[in-house]
């Protein structure tokens, strides 16, 4: 039995999501190799080789893989996957984009967003916006799996000494090209990796008021998130959305401000270690999951909180 883990990276460094995917892969009980597909990504291969418990790291370093275009990378993964029983990727936007294409090329189903590995063929995953957890069993000989990174601890990034091998296969489907990207520039930690997250909801009333969260975020080293209601209302961009249709986070401390607590939002943050809710509606469902609830007008509470920290 063998498992191939698809590395998440930006061509210069490995993303932490890879380490969570490795832990999920370990639960499958098979030998683990890692595939790094990218361009100028040799350093990522070296970094992946240090992860504890990895057999070998395969590096496909070619311009056609630079921007992770699904059409090209899926052809590569499907070819490399021929030698493996399982293919595992983190359920990031990248993994969600590429892996179903891989599954279809292999003519197998994909098990999406796995939160627990029960056995080599049986998994738990949330459905209906996290209202229900389904236990599913795959009958495919080769399994394609994406894993929810917050549900698995990170594997040790150091301690391994895997061999690194180059993969020479070049797949250019010739169907798509990269035009550009707008990456949110921020000194704050990334939402999915931050130890503290402070999120605003519809109660923030407008985008300008999100500034009230910034001072607190700076003092706590926190990332700033938002509920879907705040995104739908146009207060903030969608890449800040925490929830079943946005990002899934599990920080040490999650502060929900002016968020009622729709199940959609709870699905994205309820695995946080400590949850604080600030809301003027004492019946808001968010208080049912909060460790510490403060019934208050956020426009009074936020400035007080900032000065108290």
């Amino acid at each position: 039995m063998s498992t191939l883990v698809i590395a998440e990276h930006d061509n210069s460094g490995l993303k932490p999501a890879t380490l969570n995917a490795v832990t999920a892969a370990q639960a499958l009980g098979a030998d683990i190799d890692i595939l790094v597909a990218g361009a100028g990504c040799a350093a990522v291969g070296e970094e992946a080789a240090k992860i504890a418990g990895i057999g070998k790291v395969l590096v496909a370093d070619n311009a056609v893989y630079e921007h992770q275009l699904a059409e090209n990378v899926s052809l590569l993964i499907a070819e490399v996957a021929a030698g493996y029983d399982n293919v595992v990727a983190p359920a990031t936007t990248n993994g969600k984009n590429i892996m179903p294409r891989v599954a279809a090329l292999l003519d197998v189903a994909q098990v999406s967003d796995v939160i627990a590995v029960e056995s080599a063929d049986t998994f738990k995953r949330p459905i209906y916006a996290g209202n229900v957890i389904a236990t599913v069993q795959s009958s495919d000989a080769r399994k394609v799996i994406t894993v929810r990174t917050t549900a698995f601890d990170a594997a040790a990034a150091e301690g391994g000494s895997a061999s690194v091998e180059a993969v020479s296969a070049v797949h250019d489907a010739g169907l798509s090209s990269f035009v550009g990207e707008e990456v949110a520039v921020s000194d704050r930690p990334e939402l999915t990796a931050a130890p503290v997250v402070i999120s605003g909801g519809r109660g923030m009333q407008n985008g300008d008021n999100f500034k009230l969260l910034e001072g607190i975020a700076d003092k706590l080293g926190a990332a700033i998130g938002a509920s879907r209601a705040a995104v739908d209302a146009g207060f903030v961009p969608n890449d800040m959305q925490v929830g079943q249709t946005g990002k899934i986070v599990a920080p040490d401390l999650y502060i929900a401000v002016g968020i009622s607590g729709a199940i959609q939002h709870l699905a994205g943050m309820k695995d946080s270690k400590v949850i604080v809710a600030i809301n003027k509606d004492e019946d808001a469902p968010i208080f049912q999951v909060a460790d510490y609830g403060l019934v208050a007008d956020l426009f009074d509470a936020l400035p007080q909180l900032e000065s108290a920290l």
Partner: protein, 250 residues
């Protein structure tokens, strides 16, 4: 250009779905059904392309049991020109749905296929990408903006770090994210008109597809409950608790 748009019948997004007591499945007795919200965005985008003179015809397709014709009629009321129903029985997996949609794509030869990024029941987020692989079409998933430019399609995608723009050759596949558009409401005259629009029904056999099962659902259960904590009096008490009880801030 011809646009194919896929719609799925799902539980209305306002319904709080629960697992049955015996864990055999979710309880969907007498719950309100609706078009999947992401599919509604897909229909809206296709109709806007037609209104802009880019699309010549919009075809709404749904795979499922007989009642999903209601959701095809909804798409027709929103402005799609005609409907296709691929009639299936029971639970059907994204891979098979993608194969059935491939059959429809081969029949209709659309230049653009728009789907929702995921359905709010299974939350799989697979069908569009799988259809891309099976038809060898490029994909613009999680789209927040699309623009046809000559024989190319520019797609702005919602990705983890922000936004990414890619260029796809046509024919292409797009899956919708929340901010692509705000769907309109169907007017009563349009709902009436939709009843008369053409709706063709095919079986999987008509499309040369065998319905297979790769995933068995063994049981369902409610998620682990989180215990509600305490209410604090004021900000000072909150900060004290976080420092000295939870020890998450210093």
């Amino acid at each position: 250009m011809k646009v194919l748009v896929a719609v799925k019948r799902v539980v209305d997004y306002n319904v709080k779905v629960r697992a049955k007591g015996d864990g055999s499945d979710v309880d969907l007795n007498n719950v309100k059904m609706a078009i999947n919200p992401f599919c509604e965005i897909a229909v809206e985008e296709a109709v806007r392309l037609k209104e802009a003179g880019v699309a010549t015809e919009v075809i709404a397709v749904s795979v499922g049991e007989k009642p999903c014709q209601e959701q095809i009629r909804t798409a027709l009321a929103l402005g799609a020109d005609r409907g296709i129903h691929v009639e299936t029985e029971g639970r059907i997996e994204p891979l098979v749905i993608a194969k059935l949609l491939k059959g429809v794509v081969e029949k209709e030869q659309p230049q653009l296929v728009i789907l929702g990024k995921q359905s709010i029941d299974g939350d799989n987020n697979q069908t569009g990408q799988m259809l891309g692989a099976l038809t060898n079409m490029p994909q613009g998933t999680f789209a927040s903006e699309i623009k046809v430019e000559g024989d190319k399609l520019n797609v702005v995608r919602e990705v983890d770090g922000g936004l990414q723009t890619i260029s796809l050759s046509l024919p292409a596949i797009v899956t919708t994210d929340l901010r692509l558009n705000e769907p309109r409401y169907a007017s009563l005259p349009n709902i009436m008109k939709a009843k008369k629009k053409q709706l063709d029904v095919f079986s999987p056999a008509d499309l040369g597809v065998e319905v297979t099962h790769h995933i068995a659902q063994l049981r369902v259960e409610p998620p682990a409950e989180r215990q509600a904590g305490i209410k604090v009096e004021d900000v000072a008490q909150l900060v004290d608790k976080l420092k000295n009880e939870a020890k998450v801030i210093s």
